[in-house]
């Protein structure tokens, strides 16, 4: 199936609903009969990328699974701002257990459903980057290798945000967090550390792996919908800016997310059984306005970061076993 980049007809805005699109290409969010799985009234910050991503992802999942869905949440921002006792923003069956066990809890739910012959019910596990890449990593790998029938959604805002902005295994090079502070000539998070969990997911050979971003909500919905239609262990890694943690303007969440995709810092791809990656080509170029730059040494960091993004792209391509993407954009401006 070929993907089509949706052009925005309404100038000056980035509306994703778009009444000018035909029915088939409208988002789930644009429909009146959407579930509102994550209902309004939750306590997320203004401009929270995770709240946006979760809402889109889960409503798409509910639609694709004909409303037969159970969700497990790891401890983290999403869980905390959505379930302050005695209220809950969730309109779907939802469970929170611990920080590090969401994949295992979901595996357990899937097993119970299988025992009860309920293979019409879908299980989703979701967590932030900390819960997924670090503390829940063992359980995630276990879920992958057993090919448990669970779709795992990781909302990656690149640090432990709910606890006050600390570095995780998903924090990119040079990034400033409270445990990787830019001090003197030290640029924040060291280069060379960190894990690329989408690539690790590919290496497990599971039925479906994809990266997505709130920058392209149609694409996010499409990937979730596709994943729901597949059986076995599935993984979607969603990039979600955090205005508070990233120091960005809450009104610029979409813009920042788009910059990350277009610069190649967060490449979009999808693959089945670890192969056949379809990647969205990035616009190569200098990163001028990025929250990642350190004031004292913009030039060298920038060059290194450029190099880093090039190597991220290269590694995605080589993991695909393909040559370079079809279109190689011209040199940066």
């Amino acid at each position: 199936m070929t993907t089509e980049r949706i052009k925005f007809y309404q100038t000056g805005t980035f509306t994703a609903g778009n009444r000018l699109l035909d029915e088939a290409t409208r988002t789930v969010q644009s429909r009146l009969d959407r579930t509102n799985s994550l209902n309004s009234g939750h306590r997320a910050c203004q401009g929270c990328g995770e709240a946006l991503g979760a809402r889109y992802a889960l409503d798409a999942a509910m639609r694709a699974s004909h409303n037969q869905l159970i969700a497990v949440n790891a401890t983290g921002c999403l869980e905390v701002f959505s379930s302050p006792y005695p209220e809950s923003a969730w309109q779907i069956p939802w469970m929170h257990s611990l920080f590090g066990n969401a994949p295992a809890v979901a595996s357990g739910i899937a097993a119970a459903l299988r025992a009860k012959r309920r293979d019409d019910v879908t299980v989703i596990a979701q967590g932030g980057d900390g819960a997924t890449v670090d503390i829940g990593f063992g359980c995630l790998s276990g879920m992958f290798e057993r090919n448990d029938d669970v779709l795992y959604l990781c909302y990656d805002n690149e640090a432990y945000m709910n606890t006050g902005i600390q570095r995780s295994g998903a924090t990119p090079p040079f990034a400033r967090t409270n445990t990787t502070q830019a001090v003197g000539e030290h640029p924040g998070n060291p280069i060379g550390n960190g894990k690329n969990v989408p690539r690790i997911a590919l290496a497990h050979g599971i039925p479906y792996v994809a990266t997505a971003s709130v920058a392209d909500l149609h694409d996010l919905e499409r990937k979730v919908t596709k994943a729901i239609g597949v059986r076995g262990a599935r993984y979607i890694h969603v990039h979600v800016p955090c205005p508070l943690g990233w120091g960005s303007d809450p009104a610029h969440t979409m813009k920042v997310a788009r910059l990350a995709v277009e610069s190649g810092l967060f490449p979009l791809f999808e693959a089945e059984f670890g192969k056949g990656i379809r990647a969205v080509p990035s616009v190569r170029g200098r990163i001028r306005k990025s929250h990642l730059l350190h004031a004292d040494s913009p030039q060298s960091s920038c060059r290194t970061l450029s190099g880093a993004t090039d190597s991220i792209q290269a590694s995605v391509r080589s993991a695909a076993g393909h040559g370079s993407p079809r279109r190689d954009p011209s040199n940066g401006r």
Partner: protein
């Protein structure tokens, strides 16, 4: 049917009869025989549509069951020692969420030093997490307690640990009456959950609870535990009606009618204590034994009632509160508050050390003569201790304690210099 069978195998057969729907397994000595047999029985189709998951850690094992139990499935796993600690967070989580999971603890010491043999330090480490803790005296007890455990857990929405001594019971080969499916089905109805993740009726489970309501949630759990003290005897009564034998129960007495001295303990050591009691009785010592079958909740009134006429109590326990002394004895003392009664703490069997009838008899007579230190460490090798203390006084870089003690006892070879 009465058969000569290994404890683990009998327990696995009992679990299978209870028809769990999800079993999670992570191996650790000495529980492995249980999960191995269950994996076989699952594949043989003896457990309906049971899903047997080989998971990546004990933490994952209990987490899988948390999800499964919340989805309305009857669930089971087994662990010991380090494994129980590794899942500690999930142990508290399961209790806090009120999920009726049943778990076997094949009691084993906790390291360091690493030790695979039996004592109660593992269950003791998590005694206050909110799980009901039952202790088996022998393998018949172990089989019966597991069947009771599912009914107990599901009626109270509270998880249950069935504790059986690692190797001593798990690997003991002795006669056990393993019930049949008809008996078990009559006693144990299918699991009817109090809370369940269901697309037809969505609920949120696991909310954050702040200062305004946390105390009330905990009080509720506390009350459920106290209710267990009432529910358990009813359940034991019903068990006797269905299976024609008395098994389990909060606590029980052996030759306590006219006993001046009572020896209190839990688990398999009860058998050895009963032999010691009989031998001492033959010499005129009025000693009896009280078995604690349910450790959490602690049956304070029931234990106190059994000790009504005693003037001296000796608590024999396979655990140690480092720097403090006894753990079970502290609970016993709490139950006997206000009574004029001597309570002795005897720390025995740590790390799998065999507890002999002769050592017990000697200890009881010493207690009677007021010659026991408090706490008293049964069969302690004082020479080794004194040598090690002397060594450490003389040398700063004295090296690891355990290795040197083992060298002193000639258990391991001397260092090549």
């Amino acid at each position: 049917m009465r058969m000569q069978i290994e404890g683990s195998q009998a327990v696995a057969d009992a679990i299978a009869l209870c028809q769990p729907e999800v079993i999670a397994a992570y191996p650790i000595s000495p529980q492995t025989h249980i999960v191995e047999r269950l994996s076989r029985k699952t594949k043989q189709g003896h457990i309906g549509r049971c899903q047997f998951l080989n998971v990546e850690s004990e933490f994952a094992a209990l987490s899988v069951l948390i999800g499964a139990s919340a989805s309305g499935a009857r669930t089971y796993t087994a662990t010991s020692s380090q494994g129980l600690l590794f899942m500690a967070e999930a142990v508290y989580n399961a209790a806090g969420l009120g999920l009726p999971i049943v778990m076997t603890i094949a009691n084993r010491a906790i390291g360091a030093p690493i030790n695979i043999w039996n004592d109660h330090s593992d269950s003791m480490a998590l005694r206050d997490a909110g799980w009901i803790q039952l202790f088996a005296e022998d393998n018949q007890d172990a089989v019966d307690l597991h069947i009771q455990a599912f009914r107990l857990a599901e009626s109270l929405s509270c998880p249950v640990m069935v504790c059986m001594d690692g190797y001593v019971l798990t690997h003991a080969y002795e006669p056990v009456d393993v019930p049949d499916a008809v008996q078990v089905n009559a006693y144990l109805p299918p699991y009817d959950p109090v809370q369940v993740l269901d697309p037809e009726r969505p609920v949120s489970i696991g909310a954050m609870v702040g200062p305004e309501a946390f105390t009330e949630v905990k009080y509720f759990s506390h009350q459920q535990h106290l209710r267990a003290l009432e529910v358990m005897p009813e359940l034991v009564e019903a068990f006797e009606q269905h299976f024609q034998r008395r098994s389990g129960g909060l606590c029980s007495a052996y030759r306590m009618e006219d006993a001046d001295i009572a020896v209190i303990a839990m688990g398999s050591v009860i058998g050895t204590i009963k032999d010691a009691v009989d031998e001492l009785r033959n010499t005129g010592v009025r000693v009896g034994c009280v078995k604690i079958g349910c450790y959490r909740p602690f049956p304070k009134f029931q234990v106190s009632a059994l000790l009504e006429k005693t003037t001296r109590v000796i608590v024999v326990e396979k655990d140690l509160a480092v720097g403090m002394g006894g753990i079970v004895s502290a609970d016993v003392q709490s139950a006997l508050q206000g009574r004029q009664i001597s309570v002795h703490t005897v720390i025995a069997g740590l790390g799998g050390r065999s507890i002999s009838t002769s050592s017990l008899k000697h200890m009881i007579l010493e207690a009677r003569a007021e010659r026991l230190t408090e706490p008293y460490f049964l069969d302690l090798n004082k020479t080794v201790i004194e040598q090690e203390l002397a060594r450490r006084r003389d040398i700063r870089r004295a090296g690891p304690v355990a290795e040197h003690m083992l060298q002193t006892m000639n258990v391991i070879g001397t260092k090549v210099s």
